[in-house]
Amino acid sequence: MNPPTDPPALPARDTRALPTGDVHAVVARLAEHPFFAGISREDLARLAEGGALVEFDADRYALRQGGPGETFTLLLEGDVDLEVAGAGPPLVIESLHAGDALGWSWLFPPHRWAFDAHCRTQVRAIALDARHLRALIDADPVLGRELTHRVAELVADRLRHARLQIVSGHAHDHRA
């Protein structure tokens, strides 16, 4: 693997939109993504407005810590590491893979990413327009509740995982 490139100035993301044809291509991929399992085609079409299929090269960043939460990214192919930058090499705290959702900071103020998302491989993803999603959540209580609930599940899962990491580490250090 080539050495990572220097982080670009915020809020740049190393992304490019792919020729999607039309919104139907985005809806088709959303329908296959586990995060949206069970959502009607009609609602998927509403969610997909302003969205695009995107691609990131390996060793580039899908998101930058502190950058604006403008997109909700659903991974279709490839591996992404959530990283904490520090004095030494970046620390990977979680890897995400096809079928995972990348980040929830787009939903909650101040809408800033908490971590870097570094692409370990070439990545293909769906990037939904976060501003549009937030407006949709406010305008449609039913769909808004469903989407918020799913994001909350994601947050709860990752909180459980973080706590498990803490208590397992505690057991590791103190078991007699």
Partner: protein, 281 residues
């Protein structure tokens, strides 16, 4: 439940001499001691444990981590956390230690016959399931899929790296490894071991699961497995308590109505999940 057959004990309170043949450094604070008996070897079942005695220091209960097909070369994998385990970590080849055992109920491999066998290990928890993996691979036709899910705090905390590398290229077993965190460049999965459970291919209706690790990890593992549809009666855990006599008489390892040393250390999840919720226990 079906439990590994009891194996006969000879003089269960008498330690027999064993000579340390090799010491394998697994991590910065974990070693595997390979020992050979000065007397005739004693058979053991996967999941059983020994009382390992450092003369002049004391005894500790340690799971057997070697191949049950070769009882003449016995392995114990030990983290240095107390007087005895530190003394064990400081031994040199040629040293003599005392071992009594094997004790306890082992992994119920018979329960997995004709089913998928899923093994979930956290950290040094790979050591007590390693004999079951070796036994299962030696009798591969008895099982459908065999999947091994391994988690560790970091890449440097992974034990039995050679085995993991070898098994990863063995089509007889499906190996998935993850770590809680890693410096960029690790290349493998990062996240808790329970994250692997929804992704690994196995039939939850027809799976027997063996799991070993910190209790918090086993709780979360059990939750994730049941959520996926695994029958808790086919989910087995091994518990670690303060074993002293190893015969179910002294009571140091008592967990409510059970003695972990005698009735375990391997239990079906429904046998102990309620007991583990009791704060007083």
């Amino acid at each position: 439940m079906t439990i590994a057959p009891d194996l006969p004990l000879r003089d269960p309170l008498t330690a027999r001499p064993y000579v340390v043949s090799t010491i394998r450094q697994q991590t910065h604070d974990i070693v595997t001691l390979d020992v050979r008996p000065a007397e005739a070897p004693i058979a053991f079942a996967p999941g059983q444990f020994d009382m390992v005695y450092v003369y002049g220091v004391g005894e500790a209960a340690i799971s057997i981590s070697s191949d049950p097909a070769t009882p003449e070369l016995l392995s114990h994998t030990i983290r240095a956390i107390g007087w005895v385990t530190r003394a064990l970590n400081d031994l040199q080849p040629g040293a003599t230690i005392g071992i009594r055992g094997p004790y306890g109920r082992g992994w119920p491999l018979d329960d997995a016959e004709g089913r998928d066998l899923v093994i979930v290990a956290g950290g040094i928890g790979l050591a007590p399931v390693r004999p079951a993996i070796m036994a299962a691979l030696a009798q591969r036709d008895r099982f459908n899929r065999i999947a091994l899910l391994v988690g560790a705090r970091s890449p440097r905390d992974l034990v039995f790296r050679d085995d993991l590398d070898r098994w990863a290229t063995n089509p007889a077993i499906d190996v998935h490894v993850t770590v809680d965190s890693a410096v960029r460049g690790w290349g493998g999965r990062v996240g808790v071991v329970t994250k692997l459970i929804p992704r690994v291919p196995f039939d939850p209706d027809g799976a027997t699961v063996l799991t070993c690790g910190p209790e918090a990890m086993m709780w979360h593992t059990a939750d994730a497995l049941v959520k996926r549809g695994v029958d808790p009666n086919h989910l087995y855990v091994t518990l670690e308590r303060n074993m002293r006599c190893a015969l179910g008489t002294c009571g140091h390892c008592q967990l409510g109505p059970v003695f972990v040393c005698r009735d375990g250390p391997v239990f079906a999840w429904p046998e102990v999940s309620g007991l583990l919720e009791e704060r007083e226990l």
